[in-house]
Amino acid sequence: MLKMTSVRKTFRTDTIETHALRDFDLQVEEGDFVAVTGPSGSGKTTFLNVAGLLETFDDGDYQLDGKSVQGMNDRQLAQLRNEKIGFIFQSFNLLPDLNLFDNVDVPLRYRGFNSAERKQRIEQALETVGLANRMGHYPAQLSGGQQQRVAIARALAGSPRFLLADEPTGNLDSNMASGVLDLLSEINAQGTTIIMVTHDPSLAQRAQRNIFVRDGQVTEVQTGTNIQELLQQTAQV
């Protein structure tokens, strides 16, 4: 379970203050598949970063599995990220100098699994995304869709309870995007909670739950709402 209450996050630069999140309230239940939409610059990535413990917040409360993350040190945060959270990024973020096997291996190494367990998990994760036969290849030798599938395998390999994805299909064509979403649905079906930021309304439709972020605040929307319309409304405001 993931619960945010009145979370605030403000970026200060010399010239301006940006309130990226203000009084952000959200509760995500075990097993949810949440699609996050909203106009550009509204705070979606910030929300995901705070949720994934990549960024700290200024005010409010955030509980992950019933435990407040406020005041945790770097080590504890790293451990939580490592054990409970899997990340999928818009630009895949594979490490170019490592082959697929070693890429998926990265979080498992930090986890401290022994080599037999790592091997078994890596193979299984790559199996799941259908790339088990290309373990020795390097990211540059793969298409974008394949790269994102490796990234998903990497996120999955540690059996995280939460999968956070920031525009996972943003760099993919619609065919590939659809394939990735199929994969995510399958993972969700097996019990992993997924929060996915997307700007594609048709993909958002496929999540159980839709939330809409605007000016750093969140509104719940019915699944099936015409998000395109919402976006246009926002543009007019």
């Binding site: 990549l54 790293a78 990220r81």
Partner: protein
């Protein structure tokens, strides 16, 4: 520490960069090892003792130029007067001194007309020679006042008795103890016999680079060659004053001679080893600057890599790496590169040394230089990455999503 595998494989992907750094480390080690070896070699030569009481001695040279200059009278009265000066321990006429770079050498043999002589350098001194030089008798006796004779320029005869350094005597009589060497006969100029009257502990020949530098023979003669030298030994702390006083004393005689080169013995030492010291300094500068260049090169390379890999570092952090993990990754990467460089370095250090031994007849390096240099360079490398690695560790995990 369980990341060596992937780091190593990643390095292999980035061959050229890693290879360049490794080569640089290898060459750095090669230069450092051999330069320090040369420095040490010179240091050990400079550390050899002349056998004298250098801190309290000086010498000067006189050259007579007027027919009226009566050298024999002058030398006798000069030495008497100098010895009487307050603070003077003793004084002697001597043709040359250790560390001076100019002198006289001859060959001695144990049988007449033998082919292989033992080269010795000669100092002509009187009965005050031992005390003025500050050397000790190990066996036998000093010259007596009556056996000191005068020697003219073309004289070829050699006196009855001589003193030898233990090193020279050991060359001639390897099997005898110093006490047994007393009374032994040695031959000079093919077949002229001389008797060993005493053995002194240690005294150097004038040439510091001579292979027989410890072979010295003292001859009980005063030279009447119109130009010669006095050596004066003083009480501690009195030397500088006496250098002026003795020169003034001699100049005041106005007896048709020049006084030149009033030189303190330790100044003489600095002169004798000036080139050694200079080479050492140059090598030290090279070693220091080289280490600095290599270290800064590592800092530059790693800083740049950190900048390049901001997103990767963010990604790793997002995947659960702690700050420590990131630091360790960079340190380990450096350790691997440095390590492989050092392994090449061991081979190339030895190769360069072999070449130096062949070309410049330098001694072999001691094996202990290699591990010491390796440890030092590993530490230098690790210190160099410390800064950039810390910068990397402090990068925000959010870079994973924020950078394109």
């Amino acid at each position: 520490m369980n990341q060596i595998g992937p780091i190593f494989r990643a390095l292999l992907r980035n061959k050229v960069g890693a290879l360049l750094l490794a080569l640089q480390i290898a060459l750095t080690m090669t230069i450092i090892v051999n330069a320090i070896h040369m420095i040490e070699n010179r240091s050990s030569m400079m550390a050899r003792e002349s056998g004298m009481d250098e801190a309290n001695q000086f010498h000067l040279m006189y050259v007579g130029y007027k027919d009226s200059f009566n050298e024999r009278v002058a030398v006798e009265t000069d030495l008497l007067e100098i010895r009487k000066l307050n603070g003077v321990v003793d004084a002697t006429q001597i043709n040359s001194t250790p560390l001076s770079g100019g002198g006289w050498s001859m060959g001695l043999t144990t049988t007449p007309n033998s082919q292989d002589g033992t080269p010795v350098s000669l100092y002509f001194v009187d009965d005050h020679g031992l005390n003025t030089l500050g050397v000790e008798l190990v066996a036998g006796e000093n010259f007596s006042q009556t056996e000191v004779t005068y020697r003219l320029s073309n004289d070829k005869q050699w006196p009855q008795n001589i003193l030898l350094t233990e090193a020279a005597a050991k060359n001639l009589f390897p099997d005898l103890t110093p006490a047994e060497m007393i009374g032994q006969t040695v031959f000079i100029r093919d077949d002229e016999p001389m008797t060993i009257k005493g053995i002194i502990d240690h005294l150097q020949a004038p040439w510091v680079q001579w292979s027989n530098v410890n072979n010295v023979m003292l001859v009980p003669q005063r030279g009447l060659w119109n130009a010669n030298r006095y050596l004066v030994r003083t009480a501690p702390g009195e030397r500088d004053r006496l250098m002026r006083e003795v020169e003034e004393l001699l100049l005041a005689k106005r007896d048709g001679r020049l006084i030149r080169n009033v030189t303190a013995m330790d100044e003489q030492r600095d002169d004798a080893y000036q080139d050694f010291f200079a080479l050492q300094t140059v090598l030290w500068v090279i070693v220091t600057v080289l280490t600095l260049v290599t270290a800064l090169g590592i800092v530059g390379m790693v800083s740049f890599t950190v900048n390049q890999r901001r997103k990767q570092i963010g990604t790793r952090r997002a995947l659960g790496a702690t700050k420590g993990d990131i630091m360790r990754q960079f340190m380990l990467e450096n350790l691997l590169i440095t390590g492989s460089g050092l392994i090449i370095g061991v081979a190339s250090s030895i190769a360069l040394n072999i070449w130096l031994v062949d070309t410049f007849s330098l001694p072999r390096i001691g094996w202990h230089y290699l591990p010491i240099a390796m440890v030092v360079l590993v530490i230098v490398g690790q210190l160099a990455v410390l800064g950039p690695a810390r910068k990397a560790a402090n990068l925000s995990p959010a870079l994973a999503t924020r950078t394109t």
